[in-house]
Assembly symmetry: C2
Homo-oligomer: 199 residues x 2
DNA sequence: TAGCATAAGTAGACAATGTCAACATTTAGG
DNA sequence: CCTAAATGTTGACATTGTCTACTTATGCTA
């Protein structure tokens, strides 16, 4: 289970910051962002309602930390998929990440966290994206239009994740296929070209 | 400007429901979903803090109404683009919608509105999506794999919109192109195929 | 046209939350 | 060992969503 600090009730916690992130992470996935109240997190962590403020300037800062953690996980997943396989594998891993941790994914891309206000988040996200873009560029077949094709590839998987996550894809379109198969086949229906078509 | 009911301060408003949606819509785009407090909307509409409850069971119901309105607008925009042009035009219109009304778009797809709890929203959204899917199927070049290709096309534009909206696309990737051009060229870098590739 | 049911709006109350300020307790460094 | 900086705690406040009870206007019916 989770590491227990503060076995003996002591004034100081030991590593409250990590504990808060851990607790908040669970709450996030189980009950959604809306349910992620600062006071409730404190309660579950067994500290006073104001203790979190020693580690996070405001609620949004905690959310930012969770999002940052998410970007690191996503980055790791993509790195792994990139090593193992090619473009398709990365795409599948991307969607898999989103479907496995929907609330986290929403938090990361929902836009409710002011990107300007949390430079640390910006940095982590940027790093992840740059790695992603690099891996994509190296793998998109048409090196000529690699730039745009990479963006297109990213947008494709990102959009697919988002739509699946929102339950926007009708069952008729899925034709009974499970998520993984569906994703694989949808992604397979796309090709990238080097240059813009004539018209 | 906006239609003024309740010129003479009368007990009844005339059409508060519409007024609330109008006011909330402005607030949404100007200040974001978070700032959309029920009491503030009431205040700006010039009614008591409880008046909205005669028209919306809860805060989320007002959000649902705004989202529904958004889906209708999006549907209309897509219909218009479908008449005017082809697949590319529709895609560009989709992204344009998102970039023009970012907060609305986020509300529509952010997942913070319980879809199960608001059947009316579900209905409007479904109707829009079915029309969209139909139009796509009719326009995706490869009729054989039209189903998956349509989903892919939708996911592509949706994801592109989302990424642009979140400022996730680095300026280097955009290479100085304005949004419209960038979108057009990214979308042009993709082709749809009839069947899954051999590997 | 009078009267009444109902829709629409108001007033007040309550618990919960985010956040601030002031105070308490550890911990660590000199 | 003693003191400053971290880290937690208590208490307070404004704001919000939402409930209940009350008031006023509207429109139907007799």
């Amino acid at each position: 289970m989770s590491t227990f600090r503060r076995k003996k009730r002591s004034y100081h916690h030991g590593d409250l910051q990590a504990a808060l992130i851990r607790t908040a992470g669970k709450m996030l996935e189980k009950e959604g962002v809306e349910a992620l109240k600062l006071r409730e997190v404190a309660r579950r962590a067994g500290v006073s309602h104001n203790a979190p403020y020693r580690h996070f300037a405001e609620r949004e800062a905690l959310l930012a930390a969770l999002a940052a953690e998410g970007f690191e996980w996503l980055g790791a997943a993509q790195r792994k998929a990139a090593e193992a396989g090619g473009l398709r594998g990365m795409g599948e891993a991307y969607v898999h990440f989103a479907l496995t941790q929907p609330q986290r994914f929403r938090l990361m891309f929902g836009g409710q966290i002011s990107i300007a206000k949390h430079p640390q988040l910006r940095e982590v996200a940027t790093k992840t994206f740059e790695a992603l873009a690099g891996a994509l560029c190296a793998r998109v077949p048409e090196a000529q239009g690699a730039g745009d094709s990479s963006i297109a590839a990213w947008a494709l998987v990102h959009g697919l994740a988002q739509l699946l996550l929102g339950g926007r894809i009708s069952s008729v379109a899925k034709r009974g296929r499970d998520d993984a198969t569906f994703v694989r086949e949808v992604l397979a229906s796309v090709r990238f070209v080097a240059r813009a078509p004539v018209a």
